[in-house]
Amino acid sequence: MTHDARPRLARLLLRILPLGERRADVEDDLMELFESRRASRGTRYARRRYFSDVLSLWRGRRRSEPRLPGQAESVRSSRFSLTDVFQDLTYAARMLRRSPAVVLITIVGLAVAISVGTSMFSILNIIAFRSTGIRDSSALVSVMRAYRNGAGNAWSHSEYLQIRDHARAVKVEAVLRDGASFSTSRDGDAGHGASLLLVSGGYFAMMLPRVSQGRLLTPADDEPGAQPVLVLNHAWWSRMLAADPSIVGRSVWLNGTPFVVVGVTERGFAGTADTPPAMWTTLANYHVLHGGPPLDRRSSTSVSLVSRLAPGVPIAQAEAALTSIVQSAGFGRGELVDPNQAVGPGSGGEYAPAAPEPVTGVRLLPFATRGGKNAGQVALIVVVVLTAIGLVLVLACANVTNLLLASAIARRTEIGLRIALGARRGRIVRQLLTESLSLGLIAGALGLLFTVWLLPILAGVVDVPDTFDVRPDGRAYAFLCFISILAGLGAGLAPSKGALRDARWPTSSRSSGHSTGSKRQRAVLVGAQAAASMVLLVLAVLLARGAAHAARLDIGFDASGLMTISAVFQRGTYDGPRAQAYWDSALERVRALPGVQSSALAEVPPFSGSSRVTVFRRARYTINHNDTHAGYFETLGLRVLAGRTYTPAEVSARAPVAVISEGLARDFFPGENPVGQPLGRILEGSQSTIIGVVSNAITARLRDPRAAAVYQPIHDMLAARMVVRAGGPSEALIKSLQGTFQSIDPGVRVGITKVSDGLDRQLAEPTALSMMASLLAAVALALALIGLYGVTAFVTGQRRLEISVRIALGASGSDVMRLLVRDSLRPVLYGLAAGAIGAALGSRVLTGVLYGLSPADPLTFAAALIVLLAASAGAVVLPTRRAAAVDPAAVLREV
């Protein structure tokens, strides 16, 4: 234990001190002194003296490089020693201290760029690369039920038990598809709303996460009659419970039942859900939370299944094993669902065995590639954001480079002197790089502070749920470190090259700063800044206009005044006919309410967060399914374009008829009349006939402009929801609707939501994206203008003599102004042109997030060009006017 008493930093410094063969001896001496001081004067004193002793060894090397006794000569002559680094750093600090204002501006600019970059990266990290916290997630697979023309991930609880009991080689765990939010109250405190996910007992063992407090759920917790226990999400625990470790062992009340908190997951664990829940409990507690009998072999509650492939077991082998179980059990068809559908509130519900379409087998989908739904989109956004970050960094680097270029010109004399005194060129380059690198690292440290402050704000803007951990993680820190070093090195390389080339003898006194090399370099830098600003500004304006476009997007119906009513029926007490009676009565009473224009039942109301789709993987084509009442089309306001919609009689009779959307009709029946055609031409195996075509309606995702949809008569009343179109103010109507439903059956939980809320949630995404891009563009513009101003001020300052001569020879002030502004703006114009070309080429990747706006939108390009031209003219004119106002006599006297 004695070793631990020595200061850690000192031990580290000692370890990296090149002592050669003397190390053991020196360490023994230090230890002996430490122990004797500790015995006589106490540990604190001993530690202080130990530290200063180690520092004295370093200092001893630095000052006059006295050889440590017996130290090998080779250590001292090594080409790159830490001593030199110390020297470089001291010198760098001295140089930077000499021009504090410029250095400050540069560092703050770089820091802002770095922190904006890191924040963007962190958000991206959360949204796109979000690690699930699952160990070795490549072996994790989603267990999908396969049909002839699709696959789904909904299984009933009884199917899960059958698979689990028969699968020998493959372990399968279940996750309840219907996540739910509960009000908690901790030991009588005011409660929080918290999302809860029910999982089978072996779930955590399969995910293999570590625990930060207590323990995780085990199969024992999933036994019937086990004590209800919870595991908390680390992010939620940190944010809502202030990371209180005493929570373990205490109770959280959910639905009036105390659940004992047994542990907290490790930081960053999100599990298999798209949005991590605040807490997890076992499926055994289903009935405690939702009422009804405990889950057992007969339960049809819908669950998703995950599995982990044993090492060395190919996916096909596991698939075959599970398929044989499924086929021998003869599972029926369940609902067809999007395999990537979010596990979230309202997404699952009761599993509905219906038409006899047999499950053909089991498909295992690697969990890692599960993001399929948006993988293309996400990759695209990643590319865009990273490019934008890169551009901002280029701008920041260009600024630092400008600063260093200017100072390198000013330091040519110093460098010339050093070369004359025998400094090797490599040594000088290293000195200059050390300086720019320290700039980068100081800016990085400052950027870190900015990031910690900026990130929660940005996360709020982008609306990251509170079960996500938004603090920068290891990856974000690594990124920050990387870009700091990159910025430092990138900014330092060009000036150090220039400085060496232009090094001059101390005897030639005046510097003109006009060597063609550095002039060209500055012009290129200014041009690059202008180009990068142009690209970023175009990007930001495009995304902002895209967001505005999305807000005005024609979704095919009027969402305002539309409401969705969902009902959760008590299990066991309701069956199909009873639900039918419930809805019939509800429809009758709702239609009688004042302000209600029309109402109808549908399985998938618009923007309800759920969907039922068929995905043609090869063609990347998605068809939305919806089972509806006859009045649904009228309630939404869809026009009948061909044929007719089904009648109430056809709905009651479950007639094999279908109505398709205009988009689907165009894609599958180009040039022919789809009315009367079999639906089997689109969906293999379907027996229905197409009887009509209705206008397009975007009801699920704004980004899917095709809006391909198949409507069929609704038959499953347990899964039905009501869509109501109201004429008047919705708040009053919601109250009376609640009363109405309460009067039908107070035992049925009813949720009323506005369709426009769901639409707003969809619109939040483009808005967030455009805000991020606008922030980046603002930073970029500011950096570019600072840079342009700085360079112009520097160049015009250098040209004072020339200006004076021109004025003395009769040039007017406006002549000089025109000359200087033209010279300064020329590279800007080239840069803007290059930037416009780059933006035109690059903006094509944005097509998917522009909601129909053309990526080559001329208005956007014109606006960006005008803003940049005006701003750079301002940045050039200000210093130029000062330069043109020189008193030529005074300047010429100086010469």
Binding site: D28, D29, D53, L57, W58, G60, P66
Partner: protein
């Protein structure tokens, strides 16, 4: 390099080595100088002084056989050379002479 003058700290170090009965090592020297001068002395300074003294030929060092005190590891021991002793004595004598002058000069 031999026969150079002694700096103040070098002199202390040299005298400490001598006072500790020669064949001593860095730690006792550090402790001795610190006690005698009443100011904090870093180990690095002692190393540096010993190295300079050895360079100038005032002390010599040798690797000692293992001793029980340091866990059976060998260490570098220092002893004052005759040259070192002579130089120190010479310095002392010169100082005393100067002091005598000062003392005499002060007498009325």
């Amino acid at each position: 390099m031999k026969g150079e003058r002694l700096g103040e700290f070098e002199e202390f170090t040299l005298l400490a080595v001598r006072a500790l009965g020669d064949h001593t090592y860095a730690v006792p020297v550090q402790q001795f100088v610190e006690e005698a001068t009443g100011r904090d002395v870093s180990l690095g300074a002692v190393y540096a002084a010993l190295a300079r003294l050895e360079n100038k030929g005032f002390v010599r060092s040798s690797m000692a056989a293992a001793t029980a005190r340091r866990g059976g590891k060998s260490k570098r021991l220092y002893a004052v050379t005759p040259l070192g002793l002579r130089t120190a004595r010479e310095l002392h004598r010169m100082r005393q002479e100067i002091w005598t002058t000062i003392a005499e000069g002060r007498q009325p």
